[in-house]
Symmetry: C2
Subunit: 575 residues, 2 copies
C-alpha cells in the first residue's frame, strides 16, 4: 500500500500534552489516515516518530519549541486535509471542568481561593521551576508533576522550600495523597493510620492500593520525586515528610518507599526514621540489608510486603519501645560501655552484628569487622565482646561452657571498670555443658553488682540463656537463679542484644541532632485540601471529582515562551 | 602477701582436657594454694598463664607436648606439696561411665558395637585427623569435635567422606543432634518436622532451643564445623546435609545457619537449597540480602527469627510451589523469553529486581543494573523490561497510564516474536489514569494471544492491576475484563513477577546439576543412633544419659605421641 507523510511545523505554540494527545488521536482516527503525530519537536520525540515512520525531513529539522503535526495517509490529499482540520479540532475541544472564570495567573487564582495551600504544577519542564518558585513565594506547598526539570533547579527549589517550611513534592512526582485527596495519579484509598513517603510514583500508588486491598487505610501519601534521595538533592523533601508524619497524631505507622538511595543519604534518612517515635516500614527496592529489623525500622522485601507489614503493625497497634524501661537514672556519669563475655561463638558474633546497628565500634577478639580486632584479648576497651570459647582461651583448657572459672574472673575484672554500664553473658546449657552454670555464675554476678554498688555505680548484668526445659540443667532453674541476683535474663539473643544496644545508644548520645529546615506546619495536613492547578486540566478535574475546591489556571508560557524575557520578568517579580 | 610459683614439666604425657581441668581445680582448692594451672605447654596456654601470674622461666621453656603443672602458693613448701599430690589425684579420678571393658582402639570398639555408625572424636587437634581417617576407613560418620585441625586436613577428610557417602561434621563441630540424640554440646529438643544444618555450634544450639521453646521440634541438627562454608572447603558437609534433609521424609522445613559464607560458596549452597523441594529458612548472620524471600528460601534476620519462621512454616504446613501450575506443555520449543511492558516505573524496577533472583540477565531501558541497558528501547532482546513511562517515550506525549496506544502497538509487536513465552503488563488505575484501560488492553491481549495461537504458539499474558474498588475505573471490573481474554491477573506485583520468574527459570534450564558426591544413605538418620566415643569421656556419658548405646575408647596417642612413628603406623594401616 502506498503512503504519503505530510507535516506542518508551528513555531512558538504551546499546548499541554493532554491537548496534543487528543489532537493526535483525532487525526489518526480520520478516514484514510494511517498514523499521526502531534508533538513538540524534541530529539526524543523525533526518535519516536522515526520508529513509527513519521519522520519527514521537515520534521527532522524542527526545534524543541516547535509544534510538529505530522500525518501518514494513503495519499497526499488525505494527509493535507487531515492537517487542515487541526484548528477546527482545537477549538471544538471542550473543557472538562466547570469553572466560569479561568484566571491566567497564580496570583489571581490565589485571590479566588485564598485557603488553597497547595499548587499542582504540570506545565512543560522548562517552565515548571519558574511556576514552582512563584508558588513558593506565595507561601504554597508545591506538587510538581512536571519532569525535565534540572537537578540544579530542584536543589534550588528545595533549599528555598525547606527554609520556608513548605514542601516541594517533585519534580517528576506522579502521585500524592493529602488529607484523603489524590493529586496527580492517585487511587481512592480508605482513610486509616498509615502515612506513606515515596520517591516512587507507582510505588506510592501500589503500596497505598495494596494497603486498601488488605483492609487498611492511609493518612497521607507524600511523594518527593525520584531524585530526592540522590546524593545531590539529599532527601530534603523525604526528611521533611518523615518529620511531618512523625508529628502527625493520626499517623501511627510510616512507610518509606524508594529505589536504593545514595548510601550517605540512606543513612541520614534512616537515622531520621529511627527517631520518628513510630514503627517505620522501609522498602528501598534492591538495597542490601543485613538486619531485617532495627528497633522501630522494619525492612520489607517488596512493595506488597511493605503494605502487608504496615497493615499488620497498624492492626496490632505496635508502638515503639520507650526509653523509660532503660532506667537511665540508675547509672553514674561516665558509665557508658558494654562488655560481652560469651561462651558461644555464634552468639558473640550475632551480638556484634546486632550492635553494629547501635554503636559505631565494638571491639572483639573474634571480630565481625577485622578493623575492630581487640589488641589484647585479656584487656577490654570501650565496647568489647570477648568470645571465651576461642582457641586462644581453650587450648589445653576446658571450654567456657563447661568451666566458668575464666569467665567469672573476667566478669569481676570488668565490674571494677568505672566506665562499664552493662556486662552481657550467655549461659548455654544442655548435654556437655556445665551441670549447673547458674550456681557458679549467679554468686559471681551478685559479687560484681555489689562491688559496683559499693563504688557508687549501678552495674547492669544481662544474660541470654540457651536451652530447654528438658535439658539436664533445666532452663527455668537457670533463669530463676540468675534473676534472683538481679540479672536481666532473656532466652532470645536478639531481644537481649537489642536492649543492650538501645541502652548503649542513649548512654553514648552526644548532643541533639541539628535542625536546619523550618518544620512544615502540621496544620497543612489537618485542614481540608484546597488547591490551585497549573498545567494538565485533568488534574483539576480529578480534584473536582473528589469534591476538593480547586481553581484551574489557564496558563500560557510567560513572554510567549521567550526565555530571555521570562528571566527578566522573574527577576522583576523577586523585587 | 608473699607468693611462690613452682612448676613441674612432664614430657610425653597425654591427658584429655577434662582430666587436666579436674586436676587444676583440685590443686587450686588445696589449702595455701592461690592459683594453679595444669595445661599442655602451648604458646597460647603460656600466654594465659602469664596473664594470671603463673609463668615461671621453667614454664616458659616448656613445649607443646609437655604437660605443665604450675602452682602459686603462699610459700614454697605448700607449692611443692601441691605438685607432689598430682599422681595421687590422677589415680583417685573415677570414670563417669559404666563400661566394664574399655577398648584401646576404634577397631575393637567397632567389634563391640557393630551397629555404631557414628564416631565422636574429641582428642587433641594434632591427633584428630588421623582418628577421623580411621573412622572413615571403617565406614563410619564422623562427629569431629576437636579443633586445631588444619584446613588442609579438613579438605582431605571431606574429599574422602564425600566419595564414601559419609559425613564429617567438623572439625571444631561443637554440636549435632542425630535421630533425637545430642552429640557434643546439645540440648534436649522435642522431636518435630524441622531439620537444621549449621556451621555454627552455639548457633545450632540456640536455634534448636528456640524451636523447642516456641513449641516446635526437630528431626536432625547437622553441624558442619565453622570452616565448612569457606572458599577452600567449599561447603562439602553443608551440601551433603542439605541433600540428606531434602530426601528425609520426616523433615518438612530446613533451617540453615552460618556466619556469612564465601560469596561463591553461598551461591552454591543457596542453589542447592532452592532445589530442596521444601521451605528453607536461611540465617547467614550479617550477610547482606536484597530479597527477603526467593521461592522456597526464607531469609531470617537473627537466630531467634530463624527459629520462629521455621516453627511458623512447619505449623502452617507451608510447602513449595510445584511446577505443575506452570503448565509447561502449553509452550512451543523456542519460547523462552519474557517481555515486560510497564507503565509504572517503580513496578518495572521492582520486577527487574525480583527477576534477578531467577534470571542472570534482564535487559531494560531503565535498568537496575547499568550493564543491562538495552541498546535500543524500541527493540526487545532476550528477556526485556521496558518502562514506557520513561522520558524517551513521554516527552510531548501522554503518559502510558493515560494513553494505551504505544503499549498496545508494542504488545502486538512482541507477540510476533516466536521466542517470547510471556508478556507482562501493569495496569495502574485511579484518578489521572485512563478511564477504562482494560477496555483497550483486553482486546489487544486477545489479538496478541490469537496471533500467537495461529502461529502454533501459546502466549501467556500476565498483568498486575494496581488500584482499589473505590477508584473510578473499579478494580474488579478491570480484573474481570483482563481475565475474560485469558490473561493471568494479580494485584500483587511480587506474586506476579515471581510466577514469571519461576516459569522463565524452568523454560531456560540447561541440563541437570552435576552430582559429584555419593549421597549419604538416608538410613543413617532413620535407625537408632549408636556411637563410638574417642576423646572426652563426658561425651560418652552424655550419650549414655540419653539411652544411646555407646562404647568409649580408652584412647592413647599412637606411638606415644611420636609424630614420625604415627605417620609410619598410619601408612601401614592404609595398606
Amino acid at each position: 500500500m502506498m503512503a504519503t507523510v505530510k507535516a506542518e511545523i508551528r513555531s512558538g505554540m504551546y499546548y499541554d500534552s493532554a491537548v496534543l494527545m487528543q489532537l493526535q488521536r483525532s487525526l489518526a482516527g480520520l478516514a484514510g489516515v494511517q498514523d499521526a503525530g502531534v508533538v513538540m519537536g524534541t530529539e526524543s520525540n523525533k526518535e519516536l516518530l522515526a520508529h513509527i515512520d513519521l519522520l519527514s525531513p521537515e520534521v527532522q529539522s524542527s526545534k524543541p519549541d516547535d509544534l510538529v503535526i505530522v500525518v501518514r495517509a494513503e495519499d497526499e490529499k488525505t494527509a493535507l486535509e487531515a492537517i487542515s482540520k487541526v484548528d477546527e479540532l482545537l477549538t471544538r475541544r471542550k473543557s472538562g471542568i466547570e469553572q466560569e472564570y479561568k484566571p491566567h495567573s497564580l496570583e489571581t487564582a490565589a485571590e479566588m481561593l485564598p485557603n488553597a495551600s497547595w499548587v499542582l504544577i504540570s506545565v512543560a519542564g522548562r517552565y515548571a521551576a519558574g511556576v514552582a518558585r512563584e508558588a513558593l513565594r506565595a507561601g504554597k506547598h508545591v506538587f510538581l508533576f512536571s519532569d525535565n526539570v534540572s537537578v540544579e533547579e530542584e536543589i534550588a527549589l528545595k533549599a528555598k522550600s525547606s527554609q520556608l517550611g513548605l514542601l516541594v513534592m517533585g519534580p517528576d512526582c506522579g502521585t500524592a495523597m493529602i488529607s484523603g485527596m489524590g493529586l496527580g495519579f492517585a487511587n481512592k484509598v480508605r482513610k486509616g493510620p498509615i502515612g506513606v513517603v515515596a520517591a516512587a510514583g507507582t510505588g506510592l500508588q501500589h503500596v497505598t492500593s495494596r494497603i486498601h486491598q488488605l483492609g487498611g487505610g492511609i493518612t497521607h501519601g507524600i511523594g518527593t520525586g525520584g531524585r530526592d534521595l540522590s546524593e545531590k538533592v539529599g532527601a530534603v523533601t523525604f526528611r521533611q515528610a518523615i518529620d511531618l508524619l512523625s508529628r502527625d497524631p493520626e499517623t501511627k505507622v510510616i512507610v518509606l518507599v524508594s529505589k536504593p538511595p545514595a548510601p550517605r543519604v540512606a543513612d541520614e534518612v534512616l537515622k531520621a526514621a529511627r527517631n520518628a517515635g513510630k514503627p517505620v516500614v522501609v522498602n528501598f527496592i534492591a538495597r542490601a540489608i543485613t538486619s531485617q529489623r532495627i528497633d522501630n525500622l522494619y525492612f520489607a522485601g517488596s512493595l506488597d510486603e511493605a503494605a502487608a507489614m504496615a497493615v499488620r503493625l497498624a492492626n496490632e497497634g505496635v508502638g515503639v519501645e520507650s526509653n523509660a524501661d532503660l532506667k537511665l537514672e540508675r547509672f553514674s556519669p561516665g558509665q557508658k560501655y558494654m562488655r560481652g563475655l560469651y561462651s558461644g561463638g555464634t552468639l558473640a558474633y550475632e551480638a556484634q552484628h546486632i550492635l553494629s546497628n547501635y554503636l559505631p565500634k565494638v571491639w572483639a577478639n573474634a571480630p565481625i569487622n577485622k578493623e575492630f580486632k581487640i589488641p589484647n584479648s585479656y584487656v577490654s576497651q570501650e565496647h568489647t565482646i570477648i568470645d571465651l570459647g576461642e582457641d586462644e582461651f581453650t587450648v589445653g583448657r576446658l571450654h567456657p561452657m563447661m568451666d566458668n572459672e575464666l569467665r567469672i574472673r573476667r566478669l569481676l575484672e570488668e565490674a571494677q571498670d568505672p566506665s562499664v554500664a552493662v556486662i552481657v553473658l550467655d549461659v548455654v546449657i544442655g548435654y556437655g555443658s556445665h551441670p549447673d552454670p547458674a550456681s557458679e555464675l549467679a554468686p559471681a554476678i551478685a559479687k560484681a553488682k555489689a562491688a559496683a554498688k559499693q563504688a557508687g555505680r549501678f552495674l547492669e548484668v544481662v544474660a541470654v540463656v540457651t536451652g530447654t526445659d528438658e535439658d539436664p540443667q533445666n532452663l527455668d532453674s537457670q533463669i530463676d537463679q540468675l534473676k534472683a541476683v538481679g540479672a536481666w535474663v532473656e532466652t532470645n539473643n536478639e531481644a537481649m542484644v537489642r536492649y543492650v544496644g538501645r541502652l548503649m545508644r542513649v548512654l553514648n548520645q552526644t548532643g541533639a541532632p541539628e535542625q536546619t529546615a523550618k518544620p512544615v506546619d502540621l496544620a497543612s495536613l489537618q485542614i481540608p485540601l484546597e488547591a490551585i492547578n497549573i498545567g494538565l486540566e485533568s488534574f483539576a478535574e480529578n480534584l473536582a471529582a473528589q469534591q476538593a475546591p480547586v481553581v484551574h489556571v489557564d496558563w500560557r508560557p510567560p513572554a510567549g515562551g521567550n526565555e530571555r524575557l521570562m528571566a527578566i520578568l522573574e527577576r522583576m517579580k523577586k523585587q
